[in-house]
């Protein structure tokens, strides 16, 4: 049996690859550079209302699979109302524990400005006191990003103790029953670090959600990479960009290397990573798959300052059937062993419908099962 090939190693692609490996199907996962994964804010929107045709038990099964694959994120079921670093309250369905702790901070808690890092975060958090400290091991780091601060905590074993000491000193001057930090508590093992910090300062500590570019998104990116690494030898990772793809001969080129496949899952994303392009009209560049709704438009011209959000535009994508197989005009699949998942799928606006994460994991999971059935000869007629 040849491998199923998955193109794209974001959330949808990695979930699909992991499910295939669990089903005993060898997988080749081709990935190039990060798409929208590093833009994930940390709050997971499942869109259970949008994906209403999916039985709740099925979604629970998918979520349990995801939580097992990404243990370092310590995903916690909500719903939660959580603040992001712009002070906006986000209602999310699932969140990593370090963010979810923000939902139970006591009234009168303080938001912490890390002077010189990011932007004045605390003044945007309505209902919170403001506490300001200098980043202890990186003083005067004006203009530095939260992601870089999180990386420095990873690299510097004494950094967390120094941060705890600075927070204790600030709390001695201005007491508060809880602390809300920007997302700076490292890029891995964040929950363990938050628990240590909480024990050291003596009050509940939580992190705000991220805004683009996002530390929680980088944590997700690394957690997905760790998950992929654990899937070897069932999963073969190929780095590079697909330069040619032929469905008839079931083979593709990455650089100069030819890779055959038995089934193919496209998880190439929407417009940002280039899974969809617009040069006069919205197109799927690898295979020229059918797009619905058909839009003769150009993204750069369509998204204008006076109309920054064009719903039709963001609903455009590859038309698929219930097994996430791209379809022709008559509704029949283009190929019974071709699948499209995640942001590539038509009809759903991941932002407006609040279902970006849910669509990615569910479509990846279901398409993987259909692809496995196809290559194992268990496909329903």
């Amino acid at each position: 049996m040849s491998a199923v090939t998955v193109i794209g190693a974001g959330l949808a692609g990695t979930v699909a690859a992991a499910r295939l490996v669990h089903l005993g199907v060898p997988v080749r996962l081709i990935h190039d550079r990060p798409g929208v994964t590093p833009m994930h804010g940390g709050g997971w929107l499942l869109g259970l209302e949008t994906l209403a045709g999916v039985p709740a038990a099925r979604m629970d099964e998918v979520l349990a699979f995801l939580e097992g694959g990404l243990p370092e994120l310590a995903l916690t079921d909500g719903p939660f109302d959580l603040l992001d670093t712009d002070g906006v309250v986000r209602e999310v369905d699932v969140a990593p524990a370090s963010h979810a702790a923000g939902a139970s901070l006591p009234p009168g808690s303080a938001a912490v400005d890390l002077l010189g890092l990011g932007h004045p975060f605390a003044e945007m958090c309505k209902g919170f006191k403001t506490l300001a400290i200098d980043w202890p091991t990186w003083p005067g780091a004006f203009g530095r990003s939260y992601a870089a601060a999180a990386q420095r905590l990873e690299d510097d074993a004494t950094g967390l103790d120094a941060l705890a000491e600075a927070l204790r000193a600030a709390l001695a001057r201005q007491p508060a029953p809880g602390l809300l930090l920007p997302p700076v508590l490292g890029l891995t093992a964040v929950e363990a670090r938050r628990a240590r910090l909480q024990a050291a300062v003596g009050v509940p500590v939580a992190e705000a959600l991220g805004t683009v570019p996002s530390t929680p998104g980088l944590r997700l990116w690394r957690a997905l990479a760790d998950w992929r690494a654990r899937l070897a030898p069932g999963l073969t990772l190929v780095e590079g960009r697909v330069t040619a793809l032929d469905l008839k001969s079931r083979s593709l080129l990455v650089g100069h290397d030819r890779h055959p496949f038995d089934a193919l899952i496209l998880a190439t994303g929407g417009p940002i990573p280039g899974g969809l392009t617009s040069a006069g009209s919205v197109t799927e560049p690898l295979l020229g798959l059918r797009i619905t709704p058909e839009l003769a438009c150009d993204w750069q011209r369509s998204v204008r300052p006076d109309r920054p959000y064009d719903a039709d535009l963001f609903r455009a994508g590859v038309a698929v059937d219930a097994a996430f197989r791209p379809t022709r005009h008559d509704g029949r699949p283009v190929d019974r062993r071709l699948f499209a998942v995640g942001d590539l799928v038509a009809g759903v606006d991941a932002v407006a419908d609040r279902c970006g994460s849910g669509l990615a994991i569910l479509s990846g999971f279901i398409a993987a099962e259909a692809a496995a059935a196809a290559v194992q000869g268990k496909e329903a007629p």
């Binding site: 550079r33 530095r144 990003s145 939260y146 992601a147 570019p213 996002s214």
Partner: protein
């Protein structure tokens, strides 16, 4: 119908005549080995545009340029380098379009593992100070 504007005007007849002369002249020159038989369109393109830096891309170089321009502005590079992430982002965009890309792609890649997009961070390394006279 005027002789000057009809379908078989003198002007049109002269055009066909010149075209026929050019065609047969080219055929004769090629037959006796005086033409540029071995030089394809690419050679003539290069003759015109290579001095301006518009050489055709190899696949390897094209992939390298995509890598150069791949900065996602996550800011992680600020943790390891002295340059602000904005500078890396700006140079990443600008250099992928410029002739300087050859220098960056030709140098030994020093991309630290920290960059999720694999941008060679030397794109934003400040240029050395010019020697003082």
């Amino acid at each position: 119908m005027s002789v000057l504007s009809g379908p078989w005007s003198m002007t049109r007849a002269k055009s066909f005549f010149y075209l026929a002369v050019a065609f047969w002249k080219r055929q004769i020159r090629r037959a006796v080995g005086l033409g540029r038989r071995d030089e394809g369109g690419v050679a003539r393109f290069l003759e015109n545009y290579a001095p301006e830096g518009m050489a055709p891309l190899t696949l390897q170089r094209e992939l390298g340029l995509q890598q150069l321009g791949g900065c996602i502005q996550c800011g992680l590079c600020e943790a390891v380098g002295n340059q602000p992430a904005d500078r890396v982002a700006a140079y990443s965009r600008a250099i992928a379009m410029s002739a300087d890309a050859a220098a960056v792609l030709g140098a030994a890649p020093t991309t630290p593992a920290i960059c999720p997009a694999g941008v060679p961070l030397q794109v934003a390394r400040p240029a050395p100070e010019p020697p003082t006279p």
